[in-house]
Symmetry: C2
């Protein structure tokens, strides 16, 4: 079916969503990328996302959803709140934007509907669970039902990384032929540094540990 030949990828330009972008390119005839701008500290993220999308030869759209930042105070969007280096016990880290993926995926669904697209791809995952409730599989599945009920839709939300750890996500990028692109060009670091990043924020640590694990595994598998 025609509507099954296209997918919309929620695309931040980080390791995860870039891997998802190429995952989608392998499966769908047409892929487009949707990048959200919401008052992040690092507007550089948006430039990185655009460059990556152009390099992947997909349609790229950015959408301003700054209203999310106005809903609550937190470390990713409010410069007056210091960022936790460690996850607080028993609570989401204060980089948590309440409802962020709820809004991202809801907006993506409306955009997809306008374009006659039903497949939506997101890089969220719960294996390296960082305390964000809206990265969990149950949340995504529940939202998928809710979106279909809200708009009489037939959306399918794909989460190729849901059960992969970071090492497996590196392996997937490698299999898709974009290991170097993901390693050098994406931006995951909370402090806004592309590639290997600052090295000490939680996102960099998780990314690096996964990379080291994957590279070690790969070396052991060599003949």
């Amino acid at each position: 079916m025609k509507e099954d030949s296209e997918a919309l990828v929620v695309f931040s330009g980080g390791q995860d969503s870039t891997t998802c972008l190429y995952w989608a390119k392998e499966r769908f005839e047409r892929v487009s990328a949707l990048t959200f701008v919401y008052g992040q500290k690092h507007a550089l993220e948006v430039d990185v996302a655009e460059r990556l999308a152009r390099a992947a030869d997909v349609r790229w759209t950015k959408m301003d959803v700054s209203f999310i930042a106005s809903l609550s105070a937190n470390a990713l969007t409010d410069a007056s709140v210091a960022m936790d280096e460690e996850k607080p016990a028993g609570a989401p880290p204060n980089t948590f934007v309440p409802g962020r993926n709820l809004f991202f995926l809801s907006v993506a669904a409306v955009v997809a509907r306008e374009r006659g697209v039903r497949h939506i791809v997101t890089g969220v995952g719960q294996t390296d669970f960082s305390g964000y409730p809206d990265c969990r599989d149950t949340f995504v599945r529940s939202l998928n039902v809710t979106l279909n009920l809200a708009m009489d839709g037939r959306f399918v939300i794909h989460t190729p990384l849901m059960w992969l750890d970071k090492a497996e996500t590196w392996a997937l990028a490698d299999r898709l032929g974009v290991f170097e692109t993901v390693r050098r060009e994406t931006l995951t670091c909370y402090n806004g540094l592309p590639g290997d990043g600052c090295g000490h924020c939680p996102a960099c640590r998780l990314r690096r540990e996964g990379l080291e694990t994957y590279l070690k595994q790969k070396q052991q598998q060599l003949p």
Copy 2:
């Protein structure tokens, strides 16, 4: 419990949400009203909502969610699209804003969470079903689950009008002692006229038919 003493009402200043506001005042110690601004043709709606909330002596907040208007073109938010007087067969009327209640209730949940409030009240209902999929009971229940999963929350969405027709909604307002307030001060009309409105748009017709039915029933019940 303290968190059960307060409710947040999604409040447009129309017949339905005004009736819900007084319904909530009867049940909760504290009530606040949240009005969304999203590029409606009739900014007067917001003034009407504020006046009604002040008169009801509840905390009133307005929130700009104009991003909803940017997601798609439709008659309520885009002056270039003519409004249907009749509902098109087999399709939602073109006053449909895709995902409107999805976004309204999601934003309301984030605001409620920030304030330590878990009860959310909305005037949506499916009895006088106008073709909006996001007014249906299944949608609201599904969203309630999704919101709790998204934010590790314990939200309860109340829909006091879900199964009432317009005549029963007038009866409820009367029982709550606000029949005249709802009749004279609220704004339901798509053409922006308060009270009995323009009389010929779909919202006015529905409202008037309900009113006439209720007044007839009331008269018949007099001794």
